[in-house]
């Protein structure tokens, strides 16, 4: 009988320790994933000047695209320097916003479309914006796992015992354009071929 009791207590202690360790280690991983976003943005900021100079000759007539590329770089560099997650989030979408514009410019110029330098530029831009997107994905997933575990029974007992607070993860505004659908967006798109 006494052995059964000791066994149960041992299992319980083991469970508390492993749950505690889950919370602590995911907190560390969440911190690391925020650093990873910064890391990828840094890579992006370093990459853009190279892309700019290599594609300069080809995009002479597309001043608008070029300026966007430059302003995106400035925004990213500023965000990394500030180290603020909010600013980093905003900056990280700068390149992915640029991509559709670049695509249109390339589609309009048949000679650009066939050019390998431009294709390489597009590939690199997609790649770098993917990398930033996936680093944000990791942060979102990790905080979601952490927060779910924090409130669900039985791990919530450990969370409240050791006062693990809810983590915000990737901060996005809860109101604004991205959560509402305008009437224009409801219309099915017409495509003229």
């Amino acid at each position: 009988m006494i052995y059964v009791l000791i066994g149960i207590i041992l299992v319980l202690v083991f469970w508390v320790i492993s749950t505690y360790n889950f919370f602590v280690s995911s907190k560390t991983r969440i911190k690391a994933s925020i650093q990873e976003i910064g890391n990828q943005l840094k890579r992006q900021a370093d990459l853009i000047p190279n892309l700019e100079s290599s594609a300069k000759g080809y995009l002479k007539h597309e001043k608008g695209v070029f300026e966007l590329l430059t302003s995106a770089r400035k925004q990213i560099v500023g965000a990394i320097e500030s180290g603020d997650l909010n600013k980093m989030t905003k900056a990280s979408s700068a390149i992915s916003d640029l991509l559709p514009k670049l695509t249109i410019a390339v589609e309009d110029n048949p000679e650009l479309k066939a050019d390998t330098v431009i294709n390489k530029l597009m590939d690199e831009l997609r790649d770098t914006s993917d990398k930033v997107m996936y680093s944000r994905r990791l942060l979102i997933d990790l905080t979601a796992d952490y927060n779910v575990k924090r409130v669900s029974v039985p791990s919530s007992f450990v969370a409240s015992m050791f006062k693990f607070d809810e983590l915000k993860g990737l901060e996005t505004a809860e109101t604004g354009d991205h959560v509402t659908v305008s009437s224009d967006e409801m219309k099915s798109p017409k495509v003229n071929l």
């Binding site: 991983r29 994933s33 990873e36 990828q40 997609r126 790649d127 993917d130 990398k131 997107m133 996936y134 680093s135 994905r137 990791l138 997933d141 990790l142």
Partner: protein, 312 residues
């Protein structure tokens, strides 16, 4: 309509149930076969001699194949290391998905074969290997490739290679014990047959039944686990990429490709994203033969696509 989180937890529960059932089954059948063997040779019930020997033999062989699985499989399939120059797309897609999944970057290999396919191996995320064919690189778009590689990364993340190795130790154990049972009883070297107690007789009969049936049943459960893990990897792929369409069209392309992968054989078939033996997958396009499905390492493509479509 289920979202990915529900699919994930449902998959986890189903998979855990099968695995637990499998281990219970192995425990019971191994116990009876080894006990019966002992009784047959005139020992009293309760010995673990044969069980121990079978466990050692099966364990060592699988441990070797598990520990060196990456090298063995890559050797068999003649893969080469992916290079930044030739396989830029593969390298960057894998790197990006690893960032998203929070995994260390696996070693990347390429098989020169026009049949599109991919597999993952390696004993843990730190020693994982992802290998794809050049056919896959040529035929898929970037989004489709992301779906396939995320599927393989999920196998790595879920430690599927480790699970399947443990399972195959168990299957090997049962097969060995069953084999020994019949070899020894064939010789008929029962020394003191009048000494058998009633319990001994019952165990002996049970042992015969288990020796006949359990190798087959264990193999079937092993295949069921393998199919369940494929569903899990599909769901995990969507969890990383959030684009079920990519994986759906990749699966369609891979399965509709008529070329057979020369590098694959029966031993490595279960590793691939789509079974490399085209006969198996093609026939199940329209009507799913439930019985034939029992003997497959992979669920039918149509069923996998249907599951993925529910997620989008």
């Amino acid at each position: 309509m289920k979202n990915i989180y529900e699919v994930r937890s449902a998959n986890k529960i189903k998979s855990t149930i099968i695995v637990v059932l499998f281990f219970l089954f192995v425990l019971i059948s191994v116990y009876f076969i080894s006990e019966a063997l002992g009784i047959y040779l005139g020992y009293k019930p309760g010995g673990f001699g044969f069980l121990g020997i079978a466990l050692i033999v099966s364990g060592i062989s699988t441990f070797i194949s598990y520990y060196f699985s990456d090298k063995i499989v890559l050797g068999i399939s003649g893969a080469r290391l992916a290079t930044n120059k030739e396989d830029k797309l593969f390298m960057s897609v894998a790197e990006n998905l690893c960032i998203g999944a929070g995994l260390p970057k696996p070693k990347l290999y390429v098989i020169e074969d026009t049949a599109p396919n991919a597999f993952a191996t390696g004993r843990n995320p730190e020693h994982s290997v992802i290998c794809i064919t050049t056919g896959l690189l040529d035929k898929l778009t970037r989004t489709e490739l992301e779906g396939v590689i995320a599927h393989e990364l999920t196998h790595v993340k879920n430690l599927d290679i480790r699970l399947m190795s443990i399972v195959s130790v168990m299957v090997g154990l049962i097969a060995l014990l069953g084999d020994w049972f019949f070899r020894i009883s064939w010789r008929g070297r029962s020394r003191d047959s009048d000494d058998k107690s009633q319990l001994g007789a019952v165990i002996l009969i049970l042992g015969i039944i288990f020796a006949i049936l359990s190798p087959i049943i264990a193999k079937l459960i092993q295949l069921a686990i393998s199919r369940r893990r494929e569903f899990m990897a599909d769901a995990g792929s969507v969890e990383i990429t959030r684009q079920p369409d990519g994986l759906i069209s990749a699966l369609e392309k891979i399965s509709s490709d008529t070329e057979a992968l020369e590098a694959a054989n029966k031993a490595t078939a279960h590793l691939y994203i789509v079974s490399p033996f085209k006969l198996n997958t093609l026939g199940q396009g329209r009507t799913v033969n439930k019985f034939a499905n029992l003997f497959n390492t992979h669920p039918p493509i149509s069923e996998r696509i249907a599951t993925l479509q529910k997620m989008s």
